[in-house]
Structure formats: C-alpha cells, structure tokens
C-alpha cells in the first residue's frame, strides 16, 4: 500500500492524500475532514495515524483539506460555506470512487469536522456511516446538576471564593484561548437529522471527550441531548472522560483509532483477502 497525493475537485482546488490498500476495490471508503483549522494530517497527526491503520485493515481512505483550509484553495464558485463543504466532500467521494471503486462512504470529523460531516451525512445518500468526535452537544439539566451541584457543596471551593472576594477579586490568570469550537445548531434539527440518518440505514459512532466539559460531562448526556434515537441499534456512543479534546496523549489517540477501527469492522466489514 502506498499513499498518493492528489490535487482534485471541480476547480482542482482541493489537496488530499489517498491511501488505497492493494488488491481488489474496497466497497467502503473512509473520508476524514479537517479538525478546526489544522491541515489534513489532523491534530498531532491523528488523521495520518487513523487513515494508515484503516488502510492496513483494508479500507481505502482520503484525508483532505476543505476549501481554503490547509493546502486547498477557494473554488471561486460563490457558494455558501455549507454548500461548499457539501461540494468538496462530493469531490472527495468521487475521487475515492474513481481510485478505489468505493460505493459508500464513512465520514470522520472532530469538532468542526464533526459538524461538517453531520451536514453532509444528513443529505447525501452515499454516506453510510459517520464518526462524530466531539460533535454537537447541549447543556442539559443533567449536565448542569452534575456540573454545579458538586461545586455548590464543596466547602473548599466556598473558602477559595470567600478568600478571593476578600482579596479584591483580581486575577492574573490569563484566559486560555479557544482554538476549537463547534457553532451550535438547533437541537431539534440535529435530532431530526440523526433520526433521518438511522432511518435510511446509516451507522453512527459518537465519541465525546472530557475536553468539552464546558458542555458535556457524562455518558448519559448522549440520551439527554438527543433523546431516544441514541437507543437505536445503529448508534454507538462512547464518552471518554479522561481524554482531552484533540487527543494529545499518544495512548489516548491509539485507543481512539482502535475504537474507530473496531466500530468500522463491526459495521462495515472490509472485503476479505485484500489486505496484509
């Protein structure tokens, strides 16, 4: 197996790396979308490690830069960002279909990548599966109880608060600068999208990390956020409280990659006898 670099797309404006296992064509191709503004290799090279491990398991993959991100340029087509994302992923699916004969696709995205994967998955019938890493989330009542109640009952926290007030309330702690963030979409709309996705046979894998504790803090919150569609057998969820948002520790990253590989193997078994 060797990776190939491509400039592709309707305006030859996109750049991506395809990995196609040796042997016969693969039915299911995996496409990995940008996480935030990080170019196609992904945070700490997550997308490289993921796509290569999936190639070893027999899946054709494409990691690429959406328009204006990484090494990709603008298409100049005057589309809205949402339309552009759909057009770019359409170009990516066409490339992987041409190179590896893929007929169906699984999209993988972290943060804004999950949002973009969601947008395409909600409307494109070629998308048969999606892995949403820290995708849409909402502060539910359960979230607030889990978040605020322990703090309200913690005497040490009260003592710190009172000392702080007595000392004038100043702080020299610089606020951390958010790099990744997912713009909210109406919750009912997201639930309807999920329902539509599983209704047409899609398989979903939602993996949320402890790195988004400002809006998500327990495995139960999948159900609290999205309701009964989370109980559908086509939906798999995983909450990894110990990890950060971008999987900076290599052990966490390896476990995430293994988890995605396992989910794919269970839901989209690769063609047999075509990989090492």
């Amino acid at each position: 197996m060797r990776e190939e670099a491509f400039r592709f797309g309707r305006a030859r404006h996109l750049v991506g790396i395809a990995g196609v296992p040796d042997g016969s064509d693969g039915e299911t191709g995996v496409i990995v979308l940008n996480a935030g503004l990080v170019h196609r290799i992904g945070p700490f090279r997550l997308h490289v490690e993921l796509t290569r491990q999936l190639n070893s398991a027999g899946y054709p993959t494409l990691r690429f830069d959406l328009s204006t991100l990484g090494d990709s340029g603008a298409s100049g087509g005057g589309l809205t960002r949402t339309q552009q994302v759909c057009a770019d992923v359409d170009d990516a699916m066409r490339l992987l279909a041409e190179r590896a004969g893929c007929k169906r696709f699984v999209l993988v995205g972290l943060c804004s990548g999950a949002q973009n994967a969601h947008t395409v998955a909600a409307s494109d019938p070629r998308v048969s599966g999606a892995v949403f890493l820290d995708g849409y989330a909402y502060r539910t009542l359960g979230y607030k109880l889990r978040h605020y109640l322990p703090r309200a009952l913690d005497p040490a926290r009260w003592a710190r608060f009172l000392r702080h007030r007595a000392g004038g309330g100043g702080t020299d702690k610089a606020a951390s600068e958010p790099v990744f963030a997912v713009a909210p979409a109406p919750r009912e709309e997201v639930i309807a999208d999920f329902t539509g996705m599983v209704g047409r046979g899609m398989k979903l894998y939602l993996v949320y990390s402890g790195g988004i504790s400002y809006c998500f803090n327990h495995a139960r919150q999948f159900r609290e956020c999205f309701g009964k569609v989370m109980d559908h057998p086509a939906v798999t969820t995983s909450y990894r409280a110990e990890t950060d948002h971008t999987y900076i520790l290599t052990g966490d990253r390896a476990r995430l990659v293994d988890g995605i590989g396992g989910w794919l193997a269970r839901n989209f078994p690769p063609a047999s006898g075509r990989h090492a």
């Binding site: 060797r2 990776e3 190939e4 670099a5 491509f6 400039r7 030859r12 750049v15 790396i17 935030g36 503004l37 990080v38 170019h39 196609r40 290799i41 945070p43 700490f44 090279r45 490289v48 490690e49 990484g70 090494d71 340029g73 610089a174 951390s176 600068e177 790099v179 990744f180 402890g210 790195g211 504790s213 409280a241 110990e242 990890t243 950060d244 948002h245 971008t246 900076i248 520790l249 290599t250 052990g251 966490d252």
Partner: protein, 258 residues
C-alpha cells in the same frame, strides 16, 4: 500532467517524502527549500509556510515545502523521526527542488528545528544561503523546555478534567511519540556555523534570546522581527503561528538576492 501552480507529490526513496511544489509564473532563476520544524511546531507553522511559499512564488521564486520521514504526510511513524534522517531528507528535497525548478541556486528557509536542519544540511545540500527563524542552536535548552511543557501538560486543567499519570505522558513531547535516539540527538545538538551566508531572524522574547554570534560572525547577520513568537506557551499550543513581518523579511531578502 497539468501545470498546477501548487503541486502535491511524493518523492525520495520509495516515494516516502511528501512535498508541495510552488511553481512561479515565470521561469525561475532562484529557488527556496522550506524546511519545517518538528512536532507541534510543524502544525502551527503550516499556514505560514504556505503563505510564505505563495509570496515567494509570486516574486518568481520556485519553492518546495516538504515533510521529513515520520512527520506530516510523509511515510513513517512519529516515533521514527531521526535527526540524521531529517538532514538527509533535506538534502534529498534540495535535489528534488533543483530538478523540478531547473535551477542550481537554492536558498534554505527553516523555523526553529527546521532552521537547525537547514544549517546542518547546508554543505551537503549545497545551499547558497540559509535563512533561519529562531533556530534551535542549543539542544539541551530545547529538550529542557519541551520536558517542562510536557510535565505541565500532565496536569493542565484547561485540557484534562484530572491530572494524568506520569506513564500517560511519558516518552512524548506535546502530542508526539519520541524515540530515545531523537532525544539523545537533540540533547547533543550544537549547531555549527555553516560555510554559507546566514540570516537569522530573531523573534524570541528578550529574556530568551540565545547568543547567535557564533552562527553569524563570519558570513551572516541577525535581523529582529516582532512581536515575539510564543513558541513555548502551553496555552497557545494549538494556535497557528502567523507572522506578516516574517513573510516580509524573507521576501525582502529574496528580493535583495534577485
């Protein structure tokens, strides 16, 4: 093959190195090889490297960006990054650039360890000049800074809900596995002055400025660019490093060179 102004491709032994060639509009007479830094600094400077490459291509310079073995889109695992191989990859990339651009005169640019690699490869790669942005000249200090940040990362409350174990963060630097050999290689790193003209672009904070004199005493100079670049700020670890002054400084130097 179409003549795309920016062409991604693989080259080198077993086609394992990723490159992005920026072809200028006119027939080039000069070329710049952009040597990336390692680890998270490679990701943080990716956008800036692209912007600089485009600026240089617009002024008639052929540019090659590339990734060393074990980094970026190139073959190999992160733990396989090896200093000597990085130097060798820079030499290979210089040859690839000469071949694609049809020019012999190649200037190397590199940020941080990319600058150190460019300096280390200068003779073998026959660079006409090296432009090094905050190069790492003393490996001990660099390793110590990375170890300090990695230790702080373990209990970074902005990242983890509770501190991680020492084992969780061992043998890594800020998101990347490191092999024992790379650690030793970097600890022993002392960048010697190259036999070519050298321009050091200095954007380190005033209290962190190393002594560049030994690098530039004979055939080089130092130019300060501001504001200081936050290379070692854990809170900005995933924020891109962008610098218009850097682009101006390198573009300006290449204009002088025309």
């Amino acid at each position: 093959m179409r003549n795309d102004p920016e062409l991604p491709f693989f080259f080198g032994a077993e086609s394992g190195l990723f490159g992005m060639y920026h072809a200028p509009v006119s027939v080039p007479r000069r070329a710049v090889l952009m040597c990336p830094p390692l680890g998270q600094e490679l990701i943080r400077t990716h956008r800036l490297y692209r912007q600089l490459a485009q600026a240089l291509a617009a002024q008639g310079v052929a540019v090659l960006r590339f990734d060393y073995h074990g980094t970026g889109d190139s073959a190999g695992d992160s733990a396989e990054v090896d200093w000597n191989r990085c130097i060798g990859d820079a030499v290979t990339a210089a040859g690839e650039l000469r071949s694609r651009a049809g020019v012999d005169r190649v200037v190397a640019f590199g940020a941080r360890l990319g600058g150190s690699i460019a300096l280390g490869a200068a003779d073998r790669a026959r660079f006409a000049e090296v432009i090094a942005w905050d190069p790492v000249v003393n490996g001990d200090d660099y390793v110590a800074a990375l170890d300090t940040m990695q230790a702080a990362l373990r209990e970074d409350a902005d990242r983890f809900s509770r501190p991680r174990t020492h084992a969780d963060v061992a043998e890594q630097w800020l998101g990347f596995d490191i092999g024992e050999s790379l650690r030793k290689q970097l600890m022993g790193l002392r960048v010697a002055p190259p036999n070519v003209p050298t321009l050091v672009l200095d954007s380190l904070p005033a209290d962190a400025a190393p002594r560049w004199e030994h690098l530039v005493s004979r055939r080089g100079k130092v130019a300060a660019i501001s504001p200081p670049t936050p290379w070692n700020d854990l809170r900005r670890l995933e924020a891109a490093i962008l610098s218009h002054p850097l682009i101006q400084a390198v573009s300006g130097r290449m204009t002088e060179d025309a």
